[in-house]
C-alpha cells in the first residue's frame, strides 16, 4: 500500500464525485451531505478546500472554468484528470482489499481502564450500553424506512456495516458488564484490590508478557 500524495479520505470522495461530473467545491460538500456520505467520510470546509487544492497541485484534478454569478465569490469548477481516475480506482481498491489498523477512542479508553476502580467502570459502561442500543435502534428504523421506499440498499451499505460493528461493540460491552458484576472477568479481584491498596502489575509481569505482545504489531 504505497503512500499516497493526498491521503485524506475526503480526497477520495472528491475524486469519486468528479468521476460523475465536474463540480465546484461547495457543490461537492452539499452533494456529499445529500447522499449521507458525511456519515462515513469526515467533511469540513477547511479540509475540503485544502484537499481540492492538494489534488490540483498533484494534477489529479484540473480547473475547468471559474465563473461568478452576481456578486458571489467565484466558483472554481474542477474536472478529474486521467491520473485522477487511475488514482481513484487504485486507492479505493486498496482500501477495500487491505485492512488497516485504525485507532478508536474506545480502544484507548479500554487500555487505560484499569486507571479507574471497577465499580466506577461498571457504571460507565452500563451508560455506554444504553446509548449504543439507542443508536442501533434508531439506525435500524432508518434502514427499514429506506427499504420500504425501495431505495437500493447498496447505496447505504456503509450504514449496515456500521450497525454490524455497533452490535459487536454492544456484545463486547455486555460481556464486560457481566464480567465485572459477577466477578468472572479474570483479574477483577486484583483490579479492585489495586484501587484499595495501590498494587499494580509489576514491570516484571510486563517483561514476561512482552514477548507475546510484541508479535501483535
Amino acid at each position: 500500500m504505497a503512500k499516497r500524495k493526498v491521503s485524506n479520505p475526503l480526497a477520495l470522495a472528491v475524486l469519486g464525485l468528479l468521476t460523475e461530473r465536474p463540480m465546484h467545491p461547495y457543490e461537492m460538500s452539499t452533494t456529499l451531505r445529500e447522499r449521507a456520505k458525511e456519515q462515513s467520510i469526515k467533511l469540513n470546509y477547511g479540509s475540503l478546500y485544502a484537499v481540492v487544492e492538494s489534488l490540483h497541485r498533484h494534477a489529479l484534478i484540473e480547473v475547468q472554468e471559474t465563473l461568478r454569478e452576481g456578486r458571489r465569490p467565484e466558483r472554481t469548477i474542477y474536472t478529474i484528470t486521467d491520473a485522477g481516475r487511475t488514482e481513484f480506482v487504485d486507492w479505493l481498491s486498496d482500501l477495500l482489499a487491505i485492512p488497516v489498523k485504525e485507532y478508536t477512542q474506545f480502544e484507548a479508553a479500554l487500555s487505560l481502564m484499569p486507571g479507574l476502580p471497577p465499580d466506577e467502570v461498571l457504571r460507565l459502561v452500563q451508560t455506554r450500553r444504553t446509548r449504543l442500543e439507542t443508536e442501533i435502534v434508531a439506525t435500524d428504523a432508518v434502514l427499514a424506512d429506506l427499504a420500504r421506499q425501495k431505495f437500493p440498499y447498496l447505496f447505504v451499505i456503509e450504514l449496515d456495516y456500521l450497525q454490524e460493528i455497533r452490535r459487536a461493540e454492544l456484545a463486547f460491552v455486555d460481556r464486560l458488564v457481566a464480567g465485572i458484576r459477577d466477578g468472572s472477568l479474570e483479574g477483577v479481584d486484583v483490579w479492585r484490590r489495586a484501587h484499595e491498596t495501590g498494587e499494580l502489575p509489576t514491570e516484571q509481569d510486563w517483561k514476561e508478557a512482552e514477548v507475546q505482545l510484541r508479535s501483535v504489531d
Copy 2:
C-alpha cells in the same frame, strides 16, 4: 462531552502514566511500547513531545526536575498535578460512557464502492477476507499464550475488543461476498448495469432518501 484543552488520546495515556510515577517523555514512550499500548494508542515522537508540552502549558502536568547524565540530552521529568488527575478521570470516564462516531477508512471505501464494478469489488473483498482471518488467528494465538502464562486478561482487554470488532467485520465481509456472488445483494443488478451503461441513481432518488438519511446524523 465538553471540549478538552488537549484532545489527543496520547495525552490521556501520558496522564495515566504520570498517575503511576513521574517520568520523562522518552520513558513514557518505552513504557507504552512495553505494555503494548502502542497497539491501541497512536504514538510517535513528534506528537508525544508536542502533547507533553501542551499538557504542561495547561498545567495538567509540571516539571519535577531536569537532569543530565554525562553529555546525553537533558531529561525533563514530569509529574501530574491535581488538575491533571481530575482531567484524567473525567476524560477517561467520558470515553468509556459515551460512544463517539469514528471514521474508518473501510467505511469510506464502502460508501464509494459503487464506483468500481461489482466483480472487481468481489475480488477485492475476498482478499480482505483472507487477510482479516489471518490477523484474527494470529491475535488469538497471542491471547491464548498470555492466558497460559496467567497474565491478567484485564490488561490486554483492548485486544479482545479488537478481536470482537474484527470478527464482526469478517462476518460483514462474508455476507457481502455471498451477496455479490449469488446476486442476493439488493441492487447488484443495477450496479452491474451501471458499469455497462453508465446509469446511476438519480438526484431525484437521493432527494427521496434524504429525509430518512438526515435523521441518522
